[in-house]
Symmetry: C2
DNA sequence: TTGAAAGCGCTAACAC
DNA sequence: GTGTTAGCGCTTTCAA
């Protein structure tokens, strides 16, 4: 290899006996350059394999052409799809992505917030760990717009784009009630984050409205072990353990709503092993519509989350705040946008009397 | 908000009546600065909320402190884990990640390669689309080290860190043969990429060695529909269709090895619906050990891929080539490192006479 | 239409 | 120890 120096504007200018300035304008497609010169410059740039230096450009223009994306765990299928959607939408607008992973650790989050400030990214999209927001506050005060993804962080001057989990839990719970269940359980992650809180609230509210009473012990928290099994998605193993306990308590008229499909899967298996029929003895529904959900036996009723829409909307919102495309940066109070999720009814809730064959 | 300008070294210098230079050295922890001055500088920096400007620093130091990560599809659980591992290892060494997604499109890949050149990243880790490598060649010739992830790209001057799929296919196939199967099928993605080729080779080789003959129609290609279902992982729907066809052909003595667990899942379901027992009528094994594999009914025998190890090794290799930590950049012919995968035996192959209860 | 000069924020080389 | 000068590669005044 010839690790030779990259060609710069200066090289082109020297070769053509022009000023750096003229070359810059020629390549930038500005007027005030003769067509002939422009053509010569283009050719020489091509010949030299010139590639503009983004950092130098950013330095003088004072915009980084990069946005920071902070994710707790890329192995979570929802976040994986979010990443794709955001990357795509970002690139369409000319922005590159600096990806940072927190693994749900505040320490990591603090570090990446600092890192993002150093880079001077034009904006930040973040799934916050949701404990302490001083570092995000600093970032905000330095003038960097922040849009929160999926999880709220009250008190922070930042928009939020997420999923309407309150509504999704309401509808999923309603479906279970409609199916005749009266002994309902909610299995959720043991994290103090808004999506969980919202689902709990939705679950509770519908039960209240319908006059169904369940004890507090029907809202079950699955211990989170993300940090140990670094960068694994939720592991069904913990919900499996819970499913085994549950197996002794449930029976006809029982139903389990899980905060994510992995939990549903663990419970599922525990039930099956215990000789319980799904949905005969107990109905089960999940959240996420992960690719495996439709192929389980029986297929799993679940909530399909609008990952791509959340991602695209979040980028758009950030762009508004950044004042992209030369427009004025939008100001004003933080906006919250919660996108609706769709309940996908399959055989595990028996609600349709389905035979379990309706593979999507 | 007060989108006030970020504090710079100059601001600190002015406030303290020092030169920018002294401030720089004080903060950089170099000698040739009195302890007293250093303390004053530190305090003022703190007071002003000073954050160093990475881009300016990179520009003069001529290293970006960033590496590019090019992924075909973050929703593939293997790549998701790869991303986490790489981000972590990179950050340990002070490198930030520029993430680019190609969705297996060469056009996208060309664009991101160009983008990475503009950023002048110090190195690139890429899962190549594997059709045409001119853009990677250009990148290489500009002096940027490239390490390929998981897929080979012969002819390119770049290291490769991946999984030994030849070996994994050999062992998985051997397991099926040991279980008594003689009518073997391999279900693979319809992509012209090295992992698929290696698995096919492994499959074929073992059969030859054992004197088992199967027709060419036993190697089945599942059409890839990634681009349409943008940023979805493999969808079991296509393998499900194939599973339905297969259901009519298989019976005791048959076995199916799938190139990934999603394919196994689709086949699984088709078989179950058709009244075939797994592993009684047909054994099934997958690749990837996705989190759902152990919880299927019966639990799926599969190959556990060393995602974290691949990621960490790839970063290390890249660092060597970059000559990080002040060391000399390693030169020399491209190196290939294939990490071994582990076959996880579960009930779907019946090889252990397992009852299907050994949840991991 | 083109060029000269200044500067983005930082670090390195060399003076003092 | 500290300051001065120069320069990374680029864009933007402002003159010519």
């Amino acid at each position: 290899m010839t690790p030779r120096r990259r060609a710069t504007l200066r090289d082109i200018a020297a070769a053509l006996d022009l000023s750096v300035n003229t070359v810059s304008r020629a390549l930038a497609g500005k007027d005030a350059v003769s067509e002939e010169t422009r053509e010569r410059v283009r050719r020489e740039a091509e010949r030299l394999g010139y590639v503009p230096n983004t950092m130098a450009r950013s330095l003088v223009l004072r915009n980084a052409m990069a946005i920071g994306l902070v994710i707790t765990n890329p192995s979570n299928p929802f976040y994986a799809r979010l990443i794709s959607a955001i990357e795509e939408r970002g690139r369409v607008h000319g922005y590159s992505l600096m990806l940072m992973v927190t693994e749900d650790s505040v320490d990591n989050e603090r570090r990446v917030a600092e890192e993002l400030m150093r880079w001077g990214v034009d904006g930040v999209l973040a799934v916050p760990v949701q404990h302490g927001a001083d570092h995000w506050d600093r970032l905000r005060r330095s003038g960097t717009p922040v849009v929160l993804l999926n999880r709220d962080l009250p008190g922070l001057d930042a928009d939020l784009v997420g999923v309407d989990y309150y509504d999704s839990a309401r509808r999923a719970t309603g479906l279970l009630l409609d199916g005749g269940a009266r002994d309902l359980y909610l299995v959720e992650e043991d994290l103090d984050i808004s999506p969980v809180a919202e689902r709990v609230r939705g679950f509770r509210t519908v039960l209240d409205e319908r006059g169904v009473t369940v004890g507090d012990d029907h809202i079950i928290r699955v211990p989170t072990r993300r940090r140990e099994s670094s960068s694994q998605p939720w592991d069904p193993v913990d919900s499996y353990a819970i499913g085994r306990e549950l197996a002794a308590r449930v029976g006809p008229g029982s139903a389990v709503l899980a905060g994510n499909d992995y939990f549903a899967l663990g419970v599922y298996r525990a039930f099956t092993e215990h000789g319980l029929a799904v949905p005969g003895d107990v109905a089960v529904a999940g959240h996420g519509d992960h690719p495996f959900a439709a192929y389980l036996n029986p297929p799993l009723t679940t909530v399909r989350l609008p990952a791509a829409e959340v991602g695209a909307t979040a980028v758009d919102r950030l762009l508004e705040r950044m004042g992209g495309e030369g427009g004025e940066a939008a100001t004003g109070a933080p906006r919250t946008t919660l996108l609706p999720a769709e309940v996908v009814v399959r055989a595990s809730t028996g609600s349709t009397g389905s035979t379990g064959t309706e593979v999507p």
